[in-house]
């Protein structure tokens, strides 16, 4: 077993009476890719935001390289943040900036790199995700959703993070484009030797980018294992989810 990069234990988070995370335990090995699957609204995005420090968990521990990150001071949090990269569910591109400025943003504003130097890296990353260099001068509103995902990916890898989080990287894309994005994710993560934690409900995507899979249900991890074991997990939640059956232990609350 290689060393643990990221470890969550007993993470809880509630919004008022809405208990979203009920003690999440999760571990990701260095250089591996873990995909968390689970239905809409099960708290996948909330879990990522807790790890990123965008939300404060109510209790529990989140360790990065063995260092506790819950309750860190703003300065130390900044240090940890430099290890992270996040691809947001909606892309979250800065619409007041051109595509290349978006990609170079973390380098220029976050790391204080000179503009020319950052621009060169940005263009390189833009072509690496399969876009032509001229796209760099367009604004996010002027490009398609698929292109936005690519730009988002380029922005994430530009700062060479050690841990990358992907929040539903393929939702809203056609199956072919989704597959292209999956390939890009695998390539880019391997290039960087990064650790990846992704969340998705797209099983094709999960099978492609995962080394390990975990299933979240009602704010808890109900199964985790190797991606190869997905089809014979013996877990009824996983079975129901990957086959998309309406009846089973996962019931839709009639709300």
């Amino acid at each position: 077993m290689s060393k643990t990069k990221l470890k969550l234990s007993g993470v809880r988070k509630a919004f008022g009476s809405n208990h979203v995370l009920n003690g999440v335990d999760l571990e990701v090995e260095s250089g591996k890719s873990l995909v968390v699957i689970g239905g809409s609204g099960t708290g996948k995005s909330v879990m990522l935001k807790c790890v990123l420090g965008l939300l404060q968990p109510d209790s529990g521990s989140i360790k990065v390289d063995g260092q506790e990150t819950v309750g860190l001071s703003a300065n130390d949090r900044g240090e940890v943040m430099r290890k992270f990269g996040m691809l947001f569910q909606g892309g979250a591109l800065f619409d007041s900036m051109t595509v290349w400025e978006n990609v170079a943003f973390g380098l220029i504003q976050g790391r204080g790199m000179a503009r020319n130097e950052a621009q060169a890296i940005a263009i390189e990353k833009i072509t690496a995700v399969g876009l032509s260099a001229d796209v760099g001068n367009l604004y996010p509103a002027e490009i398609s959703g698929g292109m936005q995902k690519r730009v988002g990916l380029a922005r994430v890898v530009a700062t060479a993070p050690e841990i990358i989080f992907f929040d539903e990287p393929t939702t809203g894309l056609d199956p072919i484009m989704a597959d292209v994005i999956n390939d890009l994710i695998v390539d880019q993560v391997n290039d960087l030797g990064a650790t990846a934690l992704s969340i998705t409900h797209d099983m094709a995507s999960a099978r492609k980018i995962a080394d390990y899979v975990a299933m979240i249900h009602e704010g808890q991890i109900v199964w985790h294992g190797k991606v190869g074991d997905l089809d014979h997990s013996g877990n009824e939640y996983v079975d129901q989810f990957i086959h998309g059956r309406a009846d089973g232990p996962i019931t839709r609350r009639a709300a």
């Binding site: 990123l52 900044g78 996040m86 909606g90 979250a92 619409d95 973390g106 504003q109």
Partner: protein
């Protein structure tokens, strides 16, 4: 389901005591909610102000905001000032002529413009123009997760988004109001000379005689405070926007309404401080 059945059970067992408890419950919740809001707002203000003085500074963002908030507000503030000055001259003339006190027109225009009308009206106009756009822009960034994205790219949104707007609004409002003072007095002058038949020399000398440094300075201090209020409430409501387009709309409305009311309240407080 469970929540529903609990609620009906409560409704059934309600008596006079239950009703009283209900009222106290609601009252307590309202008070607690209010305290929580004030608390979170105070923390927000503290953090925002602290980040204005802590490096790194984002000079380009500040410059953009100085131009956006200052330069582009000039037409609005200028129009407001000139017509206010003109109508002041007209109104005070019709009023004072009943007492044969037309000589007071210049003074009334100068004092009302510098002390009250230029800062308050400019503040309200800027609340509508700048406060709304700050709130809408930041709320949209919140809703589309751009603010979270800033954080993950190691850029503090307080430094990058909020500090430049706060500084720019606080610095530019006094300059806008100073220009508004001049334009407003000029508006009154034009009406007095060409419409009411005053002589140029005497109107101007009356203006200079009555104006004191304190009149102008107090107006400029007010302007700075109003600028701060507009930017702060715009940022606060935008930053804490609820999800969705509705959230952005509500943030914008709340920013404009709350900053307009705060401007009027602080105008009274500051007038009290300066002139009593």
């Amino acid at each position: 389901m469970t929540v529903h059945s609990k609620a009906t059970a409560q409704q059934k067992s309600i008596g006079p005591i239950g009703l009283a408890l209900h009222v106290f419950n609601a009252l307590g919740a309202a008070v607690l909610g209010f305290l929580e809001k004030t608390g979170s707002f105070s923390i927000f203000v503290g953090r925002a102000v602290a980040h204005c003085f802590m490096p790194p500074f984002f000079g380009k963002q500040l410059l953009r905001q100085l131009i956006d908030i200052g330069y582009y507000s000039l037409p609005v503030v200028g129009m407001t000032a000139i017509f206010t000055g003109m109508v002041l001259a007209l109104q005070s003339h019709t009023g004072f002529s009943r007492f044969n006190a037309e000589g007071a027109v210049a003074g009334v225009v100068a004092l009302s413009m510098t002390r009250e009308l230029a800062p308050v009206l400019a503040g309200l106009m800027v609340a509508g123009r700048v406060g709304a756009s700050i709130a809408a822009e930041i709320a949209t960034m919140r809703v589309t997760e751009q603010i979270d994205a800033l954080t993950t790219l190691s850029v503090n949104p307080f430094k990058y988004l909020i500090a430049p707007r706060l500084i720019a609004a606080t610095l530019m409002m006094p300059i806008l109001v100073l220009i508004g003072d001049i334009i407003g007095i000029f508006g009154g002058y034009v009406v007095a000379i060409y419409n009411l038949g005053f002589s140029q020399g005497s109107y101007l000398s009356q203006t200079w005689d009555i104006l004191e440094t304190m009149d102008v300075v107090s107006g400029l201090v007010k302007a700075g405070v109003f600028g701060f209020i507009v930017a702060m409430l715009g940022c606060y409501h935008g930053f804490n926007s609820q999800r969705g387009a509705q959230g952005v709309g509500a943030a914008t409305t709340n920013a404009v309404v709350s900053s307009s009311i705060m401007i009027l309240i602080f105008n009274y407080i500051l007038t009290q401080v300066f002139f009593s």
